[in-house]
Symmetry: D2
Subunit: 450 residues, 4 copies
């Protein structure tokens, strides 16, 4: 249990990525290998059963393995040695067939793929949960007016539903990407010492097929010891996902600023509070998601940098993946989980949204008035009129509508009713609601295909 | 023309990514927008025709635009201003409709997507060329023996065709990835000031559809101003591709070392030569590809880091993409091009491959002998016998086969014919050739779907 | 002239980093080498003079060099060839001594160091300008109250001078770092083909010394062809500087939000404006600085990744530096320049600062009251009293002071005068002003030592 | 104990970076704070003693703190709460003064600085050990001939001592850098809620001074909550160090290739061995160092990316440092330690170095002959003569010297004795030995100044 397990990630994912599970997945490989080889007639069935029986992490002294790994350069060498000795105590014949024809990298890579599958299942679940919440929320706030901000300055009105739908749309693309690469990534690694399965004579491909079946993994056209694009790909896709989570968190944290106050993370006992400053409710979930969004891109670059692995086994670059990919899973999965957990309870302050729309005293409607006038008096005169009225309104701290009403030239083009209409938020939301509908419909029809 | 254009990339791609083309693609957006708006009845057809007529980069003073862009923070603001003035000289009415309802980000993003499409077309072409060459070469060297190396140490025999097929297999996955993301990435950006298309009243979506048609881009469910996952995705996919190119270049450069000499980049006038060291033929293409493989991962991380863009328009993070994505295209496309260009002329020295297989005096067959003996005398005694024979052979600089022949215990298990067979490379290549066949068949049947 | 030259950087720096200057600095190396060799008696003085005469970039066809560089893998090979031919036209003897005993890497690396020196001079100048402005501004706003924000929520009062002094203090550290590494980085590269200066027989070190003198560079203990820590160090120091610039820009952009309005970048013709939204003044300088702060960290990682260069000359990793280091200079120097240019004209709205301090109706003084009461009634009762009063004030939209006044238990501990004092910003600024004074004094006494 | 603790790092460093030590250092801050406040007369001495007594990590339930931290967003909030309750059980008065005037960030940052100091002490020790070994080895191999390789091709002779001295020289620069930044980085963080020390009224600076004394840290001009350049700087300096370690490891691994065989990591029980391939001795230490060299650059970029922290406390970017900086220490310190441990036992095969010098049959002396002839017959004729002789030698697999002897034109310029001399390695080592001496002298006189 590390200090940041609960803060940056969550228990279920952390368990999948723990040392214990990592070793267990390596042992799962060894057990499945024995079974597959028995099925293919390469080793006796009894031996396979016996080996599989011993492939349980509880039987091993992890700290001993850790120490030995430092000498050999990887974990399976001492692990297989201990397993063989352990089996040999009961069945000398079976011991002969432990790890038969495999290499350490087969164990490490396939073990990692098995952990990856479990982690991706959790990520799928949380992705679905988050997109469901967003679809509900986007529908609810389909027409809730809020000011849109560009360059961190108030620009024009939009709807909060449109903002939510934007988040949702991006997340749906990530779910699609995860599906596409899942099939490619979740595949067996099994090639023996140099990828040729030489030690298994001609039976290699049959055993590989049986082994893939045992582990419910797809079977690649060939072993891929120094071709790491699959692992780098899942890292990149998780990097993309985290980028969007970071965008959502950044938006929430900006909308939650004291001076803006449109959103607020849920409170509750000890949550984001401060012992001495009773007015504070800190956006803790945003902080967690943003830390992931800052860290994951660099970790993805590490996975890409590690790709040019030498010859038939990499030196150092392969080792560089061992902690990096789990960290990406841990951070991306953790950020997703915390956001999915928090989002349904997000406080939305529609009153503050309306107040903020009023803050510039009509300035955010300048474009609308300008466009309306352009049709009637030409673009340039319209623009100049608005510019001077805006300057005046700002200088005198008055509402733009009021200042414009005093413009003699304007009355001939716009009636008082026109003016009311132009300064009505509802009339300048463009197609925001239609976009919300399209995206929510897409979300509702999204089908998980695996 | 920059100093490294030809060295790190190539003219055709460089042209697509030039300032001139960049501005032209922005102007293409403006022209298509006018046409689409005319089609939708939003502006007069004559005005649209007039606007389109002026959308040619030759009409603009780029250095003036560059200077102005520094004040406004982007290029379209001065560009649209100049275009409007230019059109106005001939047709005041038409000038009113320049850039109608669009925002600068629409122009920049869609312009970039158009450049991207052209660049991806080049990358597709070079990918196909490279995989074709590799399929041919892998077939030719399907059974050419070469030593496999792990941890940069000689390990066991394999075939050179298997090494080539590994490169090929990875590249085929990249071609698939490029196809999958192409459809997602090549889509229109069009949302107006804040993504709602408010200035176009209800006609926004229709115009967007017509505009996508004009530009032959797909139409997204909604504008995506601050959702940059598509651009980051293509960056990541190119990062994956570059990683594999780097792996190939690293392998070639290692096989080309003076002391190994199994491969050699083609020579030719001035190519990789040294004026004072006549024995040198430097792997220039490998250097180019490797520099890309070192630089692109970090640039991908920049694209991911830039994803959390604020509200409805990012501040700084959006700007961070403007040079980064083109650089990724430039480096990845350049590396691919140079490798595709060089590979068909790669010198393969089969004699040196055979020599190197002999270098350890039979040691690389120790595993084969050990496996054969294990079946007959048990795994442990076999291992011990091999270990002592190997130590002896190494100490006395003799061939392992010769030392083993003197072992009295061995004769009862292995006949002289067995021994010859065990030390025959051809008998310890495992399923290498079958893997080659599978991958080449896959390459031959690869279909480009767009 | 590239599209983003003026936007992301500035003309003077851009000139230093241009292709023309790059070649000129390589030629400066060749000229100085000839002179140094003449001084050491290794070549005739007349030849040296003749060579130096021809070392002018205007004499060369850059696009021809670019094309040739793609074949040889670097620029000096064709450059030296052309220079030799050029000299030979006038003086065959002199031509023999062009590039005498040097290798391409000597030319490239020393040329880069010369560009670096000029770029660092500009950076020094702009750093000094920026810290001067900040010292002035910090003094002016030494006691200007503003709310401090943590987790992007209002926390307690501070002074704007303290914020400015924090920026200043960090920048002074960067100036110190730049001085420290300057001496280490600005040194000669001169080693010949493999770093031994073998072609110069025993005269190598003497010539190296003379060459360093000629170029006013320091002389390292030995050539450093594949030891790139100096270049990576300057990259890292510029990365640190850019991080602080990014922090300043992020702060300014946050303080400039419409809803906060405490700061505003200066306006002026076309500056940060929007043609259709007259209320907008976009923080253009912040955007430029932030884009640099997003891009530079990844470029620094590239310089670090490129460090493990093979043997006596790197393959690809050396090449990876050629564009990366100039880009870092360009971005860091550009961001610094734009910020130094803008800062003296930054609009500071003290009225909005005061308004925002009032926004939470006294909540930001809760800690002050709580600390005062803790001394008199114990920490826990004080905390509970404040908590309940704060909840009440928030619920009823009343001022905390007002609610507290109604608390019967409070009167025995705090007089009305105490209360006024506790809710007076001036009494809860801690040592902010003292910190400002310390930092400004440090700035005033900062001495540039080179 | 994690799976990779021993492999990628080592126990002593791991202990410093453990969760337990991290909490202990936070408690050290609380204890020292109480003492400093007592010294300054701000709290009773008895209370300070009592608080200090309870500041021991064994008293706390880490897994409970971990869970609570997820709600509050950081560790000190629950930690201080538990500490206060714990103290209160024995001394209610003392409990009032726990964490007096401090903020969570003071605790976290200063705690980290304390860990950093201990880690840097280990790194200093290992750096000294490594440079000492290299100085010894460089002296020993000052004149040991080995071929220098550029572009991974044999180039000219050099000495192995020169290669070692190059590694040494770079490491000495890193030791200097570590000293320079140590003083800047190891400083107190203490600012209270927003950096003004407001809760301590005017006594803040005095308490800060006493606190810095207590912890033996330097006192900065002001608190630095959102100015992270110091932490990013130490990260960058460790990144530079790791880059050089990676360069050394890359060189060792290249020199250790089966086909080159000039170097070999020490063997020993289980070290780098393979159970089935008796001829292998894998460069395990190189793999460990190289994995660090691949991972650290990206982690440094994370520290730089995290620098633009918002206002007076960062959101997410601060959190991003919490695991990143320890990982950098862990990887850099681990790589350094493993290399320092291995280097003194590195096997150097001088015989293979000589053999490899002969591999190109005299080609590596072509430059030497060419330079000698140039003086006598002109540069161009000399070059042409060598070129044709080299081509002939290569085609006929003969020694260059032998082929040259048959050249009729050559005899008039070079006597047989000249020829022998030109093909004598010892005569073409340039100033290699002098460079070794200079660097070793520098190493011997290096003084650690703290």
């Amino acid at each position: 249990m590390s200090l940041f397990d609960e803060l940056f990630s969550f228990a279920e994912l952390q368990k999948i990525l723990s040392d214990e599970t990592r070793i267990q997945r390596m042992l799962d490989f060894e057990a499945a290998l024995a079974k597959a080889e028995a099925r293919a007639g390469a080793i006796p069935e009894g031996s396979a059963r016996k080996i599989a029986e011993f492939c349980r992490v509880e039987r091993f002294d992890l700290s001993f393995i850790t120490k030995q790994a430092a000498r050999s350069g990887n974990v399976p060498i001492p692990l297989v040695k201990l397993l063989t000795e352990d089996v040999a105590q009961q069945d000398k014949d079976a011991a002969r067939f432990v790890h038969w024809g495999a290499t350490s990298q087969d164990v490490i890579d396939t073990g990692m793929i098995l952990q990856l599958r479990d982690a991706l299942d959790l990520i799928d679940k949380d992705s679905a949960r988050l997109t469901d919440s967003l679809a509900t929320l986007a529908t609810e706030h389909r027409a809730t007016p809020v000011v849109a901000r560009t360059w961190m300055q108030q620009a024009l009105p939009t709807t909060f539903g449109f903002i939510l739908a934007g988040w949702l749309d991006a997340l749906l693309r990530h779910r699609k990407r995860l599906q596409e690469c899942r099939a490619r990534v979740l595949c067996l690694q099994f090639g023996g010492a140099v990828g040729t399965l030489a030690a298994l004579a001609g039976r290699g491909p049959d055993i590989a097929k049986a082994l893939a079946d045992e582990l419910r993994l797809s079977l690649p056209a060939a072993p891929w010891h120094t071709h790491r694009d699959r692992l780098a790909e899942i890292a990149a896709v998780l990097g993309l996902l985290t980028g969007t989570l970071g965008k959502i968190a950044r938006d929430i944290s900006l909308h939650s600023q004291t001076e803006i106050g449109e959103l607020c993370e849920p409170g509750g006992e000890g949550r984001g509070g401060s012992s001495t400053m009773p007015h504070k409710r800190n956006p803790v979930t945003c902080a967690i998601v943003l830390q992931a969004a800052i860290r994951v891109p660099a970790l993805v670059s590490t996975m890409l940098s590690a790709m040019p692995q030498e010859y038939e086994r990499g030196l150092g670059n392969w080792h560089a993946e061992w902690e990096t990919l789990p960290q990406i899973l841990w951070l991306a999965g953790g950020a997703l989980h915390h956001l999915a957990e928090m989002l349904p309870s997000l406080d939305v302050h529609k009153d503050r949204m309306l107040q903020n729309l009023e803050m510039t005293r009509g300035m955010i409607f300048a474009e609308a008035v300008s466009m309306a006038l352009a049709d009637r008096m030409g673009k340039m005169p319209a623009h100049l009129l608005l510019e001077s009225a805006s300057t005046k309104a700002r200088a005198e701290h008055r509402h733009l509508k009021e200042v414009l009403r005093e413009e003699p030239g304007l009355r001939s083009h716009l009636t008082p009713a026109d003016m009311e209409s132009l300064f009505d938020i509802r009339n300048y939301l463009g197609s925001a609601e239609q976009f919300v509908d399209q995206i929510v419909a897409h979300a509702r029809s999204f089908v998980t295909t695996h």
